[in-house]
């Protein structure tokens, strides 16, 4: 009832929001300065648009369709190792894209396990490069997301309904029809839209597995125009294209995009009495095995070849690893400086609509922001010298929507429970942050910081745009090793990168929970 008096104000949150909007808008200004009408859309541009849309649609389709049997099996079956698999479903959030790509190459690449097996039977080899490779990598990253969303849906079906179905002895087909399909129909469009939007601005996957006139996304085309042709006005023009496409898709999809589950997502157990044996059981086990293999195979391959390759990691990569660490650290600091005031502002409002501010960072693609800021900085400073701070800021903006989703509920709980007590004791402003909000929301803050750090340390995006040999991050250095066919060294670097991403996440997450009394 008495919610009028709050210990914190929204002022600093408004400033943070204004800063974010300014960063994005200024990059638009930069792009606008250079993007002339030009000669309009050329055939290569049309090809990039077509490919971007097509691969995103296919990625979304395969991710959600394959997620149905996997989520269904996980929802209704108790198997050893199931907990591990559900934990693994959260891993793509912190797994560096380039590491996953190397893992996929180890399985599906030219010398990968799949082609070796095909050769045994005298079958022709398949190539991972091109459309199907891009889609495969996107499914690797987004099948877990779709599965988690669907699993949440299954959890939302009341246990009584399944007990009732068991009482009526409904066959599996009827249970699917009456209980599960309506839920799937409710969740699936949103999940597909979310994955479609994510894949529209995918860069690292297209860079490593795509390329060429037949498999270039707009994001990759921006990079090529910038890096190889150094055609700023073309890069700016493509950025406008990317913004229109991703922005329009985001606006259209915003209504259906669901909340992204940030926790493991199996907190409530529903005992199932149906589908105890026979074909249903075999299908579930097959789905879980296939899903587990698909996710674990590449990771295992990276780890094994990485151990062997560690000795080949060149000094430049170790140096890049240090650079990556401080970029990640800076990114965490920037994210917290923006997310904490924003979370305070959102939490004292009745509705969380201000979270939309965080989404701006997502619909504005990293390379687009990079191009815009390059054009702005170029006349006044050496953009290459600023490439690392710019990378850190862009990483922080990318992590912001997720960070807000994690932090806001913690801040809101603290204020709902103890805001009035703070106010009666005269604890307002910074004092309220010091004594109430930070200690109460520290687990969420630590989790968000861990995600941001892992995301930043593994990011291969804007840094690829304007880097020089002296200023590289580990993901970029790893990409260079891969391009130079130094496979062992790349594998070693991949393991190092994986360890860094997991390590940063673990330290921040643990730090938030350490001695956390409630």
């Amino acid at each position: 009832m008495a919610r009028s008096a709050q210990p914190v104000t929204g002022r600093s949150g408004l400033i943070a929001a204004a800063l974010i909007v300014a960063v994005v808008m200024l990059s638009f200004v930069g792009i606008g300065l250079r993007a002339g009408p030009g000669s309009g859309l050329g055939p290569a541009d049309w090809a990039a648009i077509r490919f971007t849309l097509f691969q995103a649609a296919l990625s979304a389709l395969f991710s959600v369709v394959l997620a149905i049997p996997l989520a269904r099996a996980l929802a209704r079956r108790e198997l050893p190792g199931k907990g591990l698999l559900i934990t693994l479903l959260g891993a793509p959030f912190i797994l560096p894209v380039i590491v996953a790509v190397l893992g996929l190459l180890a399985i599906f690449g030219r010398n990968g396990l799949l082609n070796q097996a095909l050769a045994l039977f005298g079958l022709p080899e398949v190539s991972i490069y091109g459309l199907h490779g891009v889609v495969l990598a996107h499914v690797f990253f987004n099948l877990p997301l779709a599965t988690r969303l669907l699993l949440q849906g299954w959890q939302s079906i009341p246990g009584e309904h399944f007990r009732l179905a068991a009482q009526l002895d409904l066959p599996p087909r009827m249970i699917f029809h009456t209980l599960e399909w309506p839920m799937i129909r409710r969740i699936l469009p949103g999940a597909a839209a979310l994955i479609f939007v994510i894949c529209l601005t995918s860069f690292a996957v297209a860079l490593t597995l795509g390329g060429g006139p037949r498999a270039t996304t707009i994001e990759l085309a921006i990079y090529q125009a910038f890096r190889f042709e150094f055609d700023l006005s073309r890069a700016a023009f493509l950025s406008v294209l990317q913004l229109v496409l991703a922005g329009a898709a985001a606006v259209l999809a915003l209504r259906v995009i669901p909340d992204i589950p940030m926790t493991a997502g199996m907190d409530r157990k529903v005992t199932r009495f149906d589908a105890r044996g026979g074909l249903q059981r075999a299908l579930d086990i097959a789905a879980i095995l296939a899903g587990g293999l698909f996710l674990l195979g590449p990771l295992t391959a990276v780890t094994l070849s990485g151990i062997a390759g560690l000795v080949y990691v060149p000094a430049t990569a170790w140096q890049a690893a240090f650079t990556s660490l401080w970029v990640a650290g800076l990114s965490i600091v920037v994210m917290l400086a923006l997310a904490l005031p924003l979370a305070g502002w959102i939490a004292i409002r009745d509705k969380g609509s201000a979270e939309a501010v965080g989404l701006i960072g997502l619909s504005a693609s990293p390379l687009m922001l990079g191009v815009g800021w390059f054009i702005l900085l170029n006349p006044v400073a050496d953009p290459v010298a600023l490439s690392l701070p710019v990378t850190a800021v862009v990483n922080a903006l990318m992590a912001l929507p997720f960070a807000l989703r994690i932090i806001v509920p913690g801040v809101r709980d603290a204020l709902t429970g103890y805001g009035r007590l703070c106010v009666t004791l005269g604890l307002t402003g910074l004092q309220a942050w010091r004594w109430l909000i930070l200690p109460r929301a520290r687990t969420q803050i630590g989790f968000a910081a861990g995600l941001t750090g892992a995301l930043s340390v593994g990011d291969l995006g804007v840094i690829a745009l304007f880097s020089d040999p002296d200023r590289t991050t580990l993901p970029l250095q790893m990409y260079r090793l891969m391009s130079a066919y130094r496979t062992e060294a790349a594998a070693g670097a991949a393991l190092l990168l994986l360890a860094m991403a997991l390590g940063i996440f673990w330290i921040c997450d643990r730090g938030g929970r350490w001695h956390a009394d409630t």
Binding site: R420, V423, T424, D517
Partner: protein
């Protein structure tokens, strides 16, 4: 002396009016049906509910527009009266200074306040390590060091058993007497009223009636109060 002059509180379609004077050092119970506006009345006095019109003065100082933390008022809510992540020393210390940079003298005051409510030697414990009754005592220790002239209780002991609640009420009565604070206390239980209150405010029908002596009102309740007491 607390006065509510022509006070009117509006929340959506709900409205409550009050006109009264409470002498310093009185212990006043606020009773009435659920949803009648007992907590709202305390909210207006403590500054959480801004009144639509009228004036609140405490010892002839107008506090109508003051922020909750700036009023010479201490308050206990139904729950969450202690920060679970802080020690008792810190929780009580926040009543002395928000920055918690406590001098040796202040630490001694906190310790003696905790000892006064029967929590000697528990300064370094956190609320989670205490029983419900001990948590109430710790919150009362903070009230003691705050030493404000007006104490508001919004049913802080409602979750305790009858014996423990009586114990707490006796402690509150003693503390209020020691500090000379005026007490305003929301309750549902007639026995609480008889145990502690000098006067009673009956809240009903959009109106907080001026306080009347407990004996007079409870022995001979008007029809609306009789209906509420059952």
């Amino acid at each position: 002396m607390l006065t509510l002059e022509d006070l009117r509180i509006e929340q959506g379609s709900f409205a409550l009016s009050a006109e009264m004077t409470i002498a310093t050092g009185r212990r006043v119970a606020v009773i009435g049906p659920s949803g009648a506006g007992k907590s709202t009345l305390l909210g207006a006095v403590s500054g959480f509910v801004p009144p639509a019109s009228g004036k609140i003065t405490l010892n002839n100082v107008d506090i109508t527009g003051a922020a909750p933390g700036d009023r010479p008022v201490s308050m206990l809510f139904q729950d969450n009266n202690l920060f679970p992540h802080l020690t008792l020393m810190q929780n009580v210390g926040l009543g002395l200074r928000p920055a918690l940079r406590l001098t040796g003298d202040e630490q001694a005051r906190i310790k003696s306040a905790l000892a006064r409510v029967g929590l000697e030697g528990m300064e370094m414990r956190r609320p989670g390590a205490l029983s419900g009754g001990q948590q109430s005592r710790a919150a009362l220790a903070r009230i003691l060091v705050q030493n404000r002239p007006l104490l508001l209780l919004d049913e802080p002991f409602a979750a305790l058993g009858p014996a423990l609640r009586r114990e707490m009420l006796d402690l509150v009565r003693d503390l209020a007497t020691e500090t000379g604070a005026t007490l305003l206390m929301v309750t549902h239980a007639p026995e609480d009223v008889l145990r502690i209150a000098d006067e009673v405010i009956f809240v009903e029908g959009g109106r907080a009636h001026a306080p009347e002596p407990t004996a007079v009102l409870m022995d001979n309740p008007p029809p609306a109060l009789r209906a509420y007491l059952g």
